[in-house]
């Protein structure tokens, strides 16, 4: 039996056993859950081999499974996050209901993601894609709040994506006679011009849903915020990357062969940039941290899509690097929210405040991840952003880069809102009892934030796998052209040197931190946040000193025109209209048996009258 099969079997078996282990004991369940993830990850990492293929023979379809360098890269993200979020989940799910349900779907969706990555033919790709969809759907509705609205919205959009993908798959099969991805790539040139457009568009629609691309993104805010945070870490960090994975393949293999290549690339890139901009604005408006991060995720995925769509070597590098980084820091942030929600019972930024001293480790994780998210040097996020901008500028996308720049600048606003809302500001009595989250939750967050720090100065750790992934799809060797001894180059030969930056920043930071902190720590004493000067006056006890309402109101007022129109509302109105229409049409069945008989007679009359045309 092949390694891939073993891993999948362990996953499915583990999922089933874990789901029903609650009958034995809760701890056994936890251990089984963690054990499944660890076992699969260890087996996977010990047996990485991109050359083997497993073929499962069915009478009419052969399912081919095997690793490619690209899928290996994404598998790093999936397994890494799965392990860390898995530990975190054990902590977060402590004492919650439906633990078996959660673990089952969690494991299943990880398995499905792994399956997607190892699929070398489109059918198994689709199978795992759908397993991923429904297992994540079941987790989206886990909370039981707004299930009809949120869950259905997620599923419908996923179904739209999946089905357009399925349509593409069957068309491909009818044209090439095979489901293999490699056959699609080799046979793509022989297709008719219409099909050459149709197939990539359908595939991109499918992937665009999971990557939350502009008109298809409306599921994301609700779904991300509704799922348990330990899963949203995976959801936003790894699951959405499956859409990116698909897009990368489409762009690298299919789009490049098209005469309309630039047009499609531009359209998708612009969609990505618009997604990023609009969702950033919406993120600024949110008061619930989950929703804020959800919108932020959409925005970040927008950047990744821009990078992947532009498709120059540097842009591809940027997209894939950002994909990794986004997985790292966004899942940390979702974990942070989860930890806070567990400790305080709410994730509303308006309610929770001043946790910095109660949950210092969580704060550190959040701070580092936020800095990485904002793309500020010297953390990992910057590397990706830099590559993205450079690639856009050097490939003549000037307005696009402005738009991307706008959204990433505006992202500072919600970054600050997030940090300030939870950790800074007044320390209200209401939250004085809050303790730091258990270690099993904090450690994964810290590990992840450590990764962001490390990648800021040593991006080669993942640039190398990306390079081998890209050269597998015959892109020029990026690793040696664009990267040299901690320096990244763009096409024009301009560079940024990461190690000196990191050293410089670190030195300056330490100097001044020492200057301020260590020198004054002894001499000064800590006072509470109530002890402040408001224009020289001492505030009274009952005075409200917490600034929460309308946090970025002035900014939002300025950008109001851009936020007036909401895709969500249009789509919901459309759905409502459809339902009303169907409510009307179902009145055909009016309950009178005689009418049905009349229908029958009319049916036969119509057929008789049309008989000359029908059976000529």
């Amino acid at each position: 039996m092949d390694i891939i099969n073993i891993i999948l079997v362990i996953f499915f078996a583990g999922a089933l056993i874990t789901a029903f282990a609650a009958k034995i004991s809760s701890i056994v369940q936890d251990i089984l859950f963690i054990g499944t993830i660890l076992a699969t990850s260890i087996i996977f990492f010990l047996n990485i081999n991109t050359n083997t293929e497993t073929i499962i023979n069915l009478s009419h379809i052969n399912l081919t499974l095997g690793l490619t360098p690209l899928s290996l890269y994404f598998a790093f993200i999936v397994f890494g996050l799965a392990v860390l979020a898995g530990f975190y989940a054990v902590g977060q799910m402590q004492g919650k209901k439906k633990k078996g349900y959660f673990y089952f779907n969690y494991l299943l969706s990880i398995a499905a993601m792994f399956g997607i990555l190892v699929s070398k033919d489109l059918v198994s790709f689709f199978i795992f894609w759908e397993i991923m969809t429904w297992s994540s759907y079941l987790l989206v509705i886990y909370n039981g709040e707004n299930v009809q609205k949120t869950g259905i919205k997620y599923f419908v959009l996923s179904a739209i994506g999946a089905y357009s993908m399925l349509m593409a798959i069957v068309i491909i099969h009818s044209l090439t006679g095979s489901f293999l991805i490699s056959d699609l790539i080799s046979g793509f040139n022989n297709m008719s011009a219409n099909m050459q457009i149709l197939i990539p568009v359908l595939l991109l629609t499918g992937f665009g849903v999971k990557a939350a691309l502009m008109p298809l993104h409306i599921w994301a805010p609700d779904a991300y915020s509704n799922a348990p945070m330990s899963y949203t870490a995976i959801f936003s960090g790894a699951l959405s990357k499956m859409g990116i994975y698909g897009m990368v393949i489409v762009f690298l293999t299919l789009i490049t062969k098209l005469p309309q290549e630039t047009l499609i690339r531009d359209i998708i890139a612009w969609l990505g940039a618009i997604t990023a901009a609009i969702s950033t604005l919406w993120a600024i408006k949110q008061d619930d941290a989950k929703r804020l991060l959800a919108y932020s995720s959409i925005g970040q995925l927008g950047y990744i899509v821009v990078g992947v769509a532009i498709g120059t070597p540097l842009a591809m590098l940027a997209g894939l690097f950002l994909a990794f980084m986004h997985g790292v820091f966004k899942s940390t942030l979702f974990m942070v929210v989860g930890a806070i929600e567990k400790q305080t019972g709410t994730s509303n930024l308006k309610e929770v405040t001043g946790l910095i001293r109660k949950m210092p480790w969580t704060f550190i994780a959040a701070l580092i991840s936020i800095i990485a998210l904002a793309g500020i040097p010297p953390l990992g996020g910057f590397v990706g952003k830099w590559m993205l901008y450079e690639s856009l500028i050097t490939s003549n996308h000037y307005l696009l880069v402005t738009l991307v720049f706008f959204s990433s600048t505006a992202a500072f606003l919600y970054c600050y809102k997030f940090l300030f809302g939870f950790f800074l500001g007044q320390e209200e009595k209401e939250w004085s009892h809050v303790k730091e989250a258990p270690a099993i939750m904090v450690v994964p967050m810290l590990i992840l934030s450590l990764i962001s720090v490390v990648l800021g100065s040593f991006p080669q750790l993942i640039l190398k796998p990306i390079n081998s992934a890209l050269s597998y799809y015959s892109l020029p060797d990026t690793y040696n052209n664009l990267w040299k001894e901690s320096m990244i180059f763009n096409k024009w030969g301009d560079q940024v040197a990461l190690t000196p930056i990191v050293y410089g920043v670190a030195i300056v930071f330490i100097v001044f931190a020492v200057f301020l902190f260590f020198k004054n720590r002894k001499t000064s004493r800590y006072v509470t946040t109530k002890d402040i000067s408001t224009s020289g006056e001492v505030p009274k006890e009952h005075e409200n000193l917490t600034f929460k309402e309308n946090f970025f109101q002035p900014f939002l007022r300025a950008v109001e025109p851009a936020m007036k129109r909401q895709m969500d509302k249009y789509m919901l109105a459309f759905a409502k209209g459809l339902e009303d229409l169907f409510d009307f049409t179902r009145r055909i069945y009016n309950g009178n048996g005689q009418t049905y008989a009349i229908y029958a007679i009319i049916f036969v009359i119509i057929l008789l009258l049309l008989s000359n045309n029908l059976f000529s």
Binding site: I598, I601, I602, V604, I605, L608, L609
Partner: protein
């Protein structure tokens, strides 16, 4: 409006039907070779049954008849289900007005002869027009006469069941006998005899008798059930 649509539709349907059937032609041979000739010859030569319709109904297309009997059986079954009540709920028979003495005496007089006629019809089913269905129906009318004449005339449900079941079992049993002896369901297992003899046609006559009993019992049962509905 609705009526107009229906009228127009029916007119169109009628036009098409008339068109078809005038095209088919009336009273002429429509097809060059059909199974009809095989039936006529087979009935005369092999089965020795003079009534070809009977030989078709019972033997050539005996399977249809089996289905037909089943339909009747099912109808009485379904009727019982539809109008099912617990025993104590069974109501008085609804009679519009009590019958006069003349009717009563006449019915008593007629009943045996009706039953006899019915029996004659199904026993001679393979010789002359008529057969199990016809005979059974005639017998059932006799029971109907009795039931509407006499307010307290009753037929035992169980007895009807016995007759029904045994008749059915006989039919299928004979068929199965053919299956086991002649390797084909409903195949003739008895000597065919001579054309126009009472004991001709092998199993056909026997099966038709069974069918007659079954039909009579079922129709009576149906009438009985419906008559016992309270309104």
């Amino acid at each position: 409006m609705k009526k107009a649509i229906i009228l127009i539709s029916l007119t169109i349907l009628g036009v098409y039907l008339i068109d078809i059937f005038t095209g088919i032609g009336f009273g002429t041979q429509h097809f060059a070779s059909g199974v009809k000739d095989a039936y006529l010859i087979g009935s005369k030569e092999t089965l020795k049954v003079s009534n070809v319709v009977t030989s078709i109904v019972v033997n050539f297309r005996g399977f249809d008849t089996l289905g037909e009997v089943t339909v009747l059986f099912l109808a009485s079954m379904a009727l019982g289900g539809i109008l099912y009540k617990k025993r104590h709920d069974v109501g008085e028979r609804s009679v519009l007005f009590p019958s006069t003495r003349i009717v009563m005496s006449g019915a008593k007089l007629l009943f045996p002869s009706i039953v006899l006629l019915g029996a004659y019809v199904f026993i001679h089913g393979h010789l002359s027009p008529g057969g199990g269905f016809q005979g059974g129906t005639i017998i059932a009318t006799g029971f109907l006469l009795m039931l509407i004449t006499y307010r307290n005339y009753s037929v035992s449900h169980n007895r009807l069941s016995y007759v029904e079941s045994f008749a059915g079992i006989l039919f299928i049993g004979l068929g199965l006998a053919g299956y086991f002896i002649n390797n084909s369901f409903l195949a003739n297992i008895f000597p065919a005899g001579k054309l126009n003899d009472l004991f001709s046609g092998g199993v056909i006559g026997i099966i038709y008798v069974a069918v007659g009993f079954k039909v009579a019992a079922e129709l009576t049962g149906i009438i009985y059930t419906v008559l016992h509905e309270k309104d």
